[in-house]
């Protein structure tokens, strides 16, 4: 059951992005930024977590979930440290992913050549 909701919720977010892409002049980079910001803002208001409760990975895996993770890190660090948490929290959850992207990205660049 959670696989079905993940499929439907994740698919719906991607379909929305595709509709925006096909009907505007925005580049994929603009849309990625837009969805990340939307996830962060909705996360700040507590809306995204409620969505994630039933959508599971369908909410976590799109970049909006990545934006939400930035805010979740800030809020949990804020609780632990006070105002310093606003500055340390961004990578509390996402740091794992960002470092993974750097390590694996560099490794792939060393191992493979781009196909033309």
């Amino acid at each position: 059951m959670d696989y079905l909701t993940a499929f439907l919720a994740g698919g719906a977010i991607c379909a929305l992005a595709q509709i925006i892409y096909d009907n505007t002049k925005l580049t994929p980079a603009h849309i990625l930024v837009g969805f990340t910001v939307a996830g962060a803002v909705l996360g700040g208001f507590g809306v995204y977590q409620r969505f994630a409760e039933f959508a599971g990975a369908g909410a976590i895996i799109p970049v909006s979930g990545f934006g939400n993770s930035i805010v979740m890190g800030m809020l949990s660090e804020l609780e632990r440290l006070g105002w310093e948490g606003l500055f340390t929290g961004a990578f509390e959850i996402t740091g794992l992913g960002v470092t993974t992207a750097i390590v694996f990205g560099a490794l792939m660049a060393v191992l493979f050549r781009p196909k033309d």
């Binding site: 992005a17 096909d22 994929p28 849309i31 910001v37 895996i61 979930g65 804020l78 792939m108 493979f112």
Partner: protein, 153 residues
């Protein structure tokens, strides 16, 4: 412009309109839905797996996102992600695997310009703005929430 010129101009515009390929929007949307949905289903599989070994929900989320980022990087290195992105469009771009794809693809592409000023400098050419605006907007809403709830100090 006299009338003949105007007619010619209008006819030319009509020809341009007909010759411009129209994106098949309905098909694009369905493909994005299926591709994005499938990627999130794999994410759910990993989430359920990590849930059994990680102590908290935040950590499970972090590890799941990182694992998908690693898979996205490997799929990009092997050339599979390009194939997927051609068909899935935003369905391949919007998941964190797509974020990872922009990092790995840039690293592979700009390696030829050197490791420092090529790969190092340009790896985050698309992922950079995502982090910058994600953090800026996150900072603003978190600050707002901290002020409203009085949890700043």
């Amino acid at each position: 412009m006299d009338k003949a010129q105007k007619d010619l101009h209008a006819r030319y515009q009509q020809m341009v309109k007909e010759a411009t390929p129209q994106p098949n929007r309905w098909r694009n949307t369905v493909m994005a839905f299926i591709t994005g949905g499938a990627i999130c289903t794999i994410g759910q599989l990993l989430y359920n797996l990590f849930e059994t070994i990680e102590p908290s929900r935040l950590e499970t989320t972090a590890v799941t996102q990182a694992a998908m980022i690693a898979l996205g990087a490997i799929a990009t290195g092997l050339g599979f992600y390009d194939w997927l992105a051609e068909r899935g469009g935003m369905g391949a771009a919007i998941p964190v695997t797509g974020f990872s794809n922009t990092v790995t693809a840039a690293a592979m592409e700009f390696k030829r310009e050197g490791y420092i000023l090529g790969m190092g400098a340009k790896m985050f050419v698309i992922a950079g703005p995502v982090l910058v605006y994600g953090i800026l907007s996150g900072f603003v809403v978190s600050l707002l929430r901290a002020v409203l709830t009085g949890s700043l100090f």
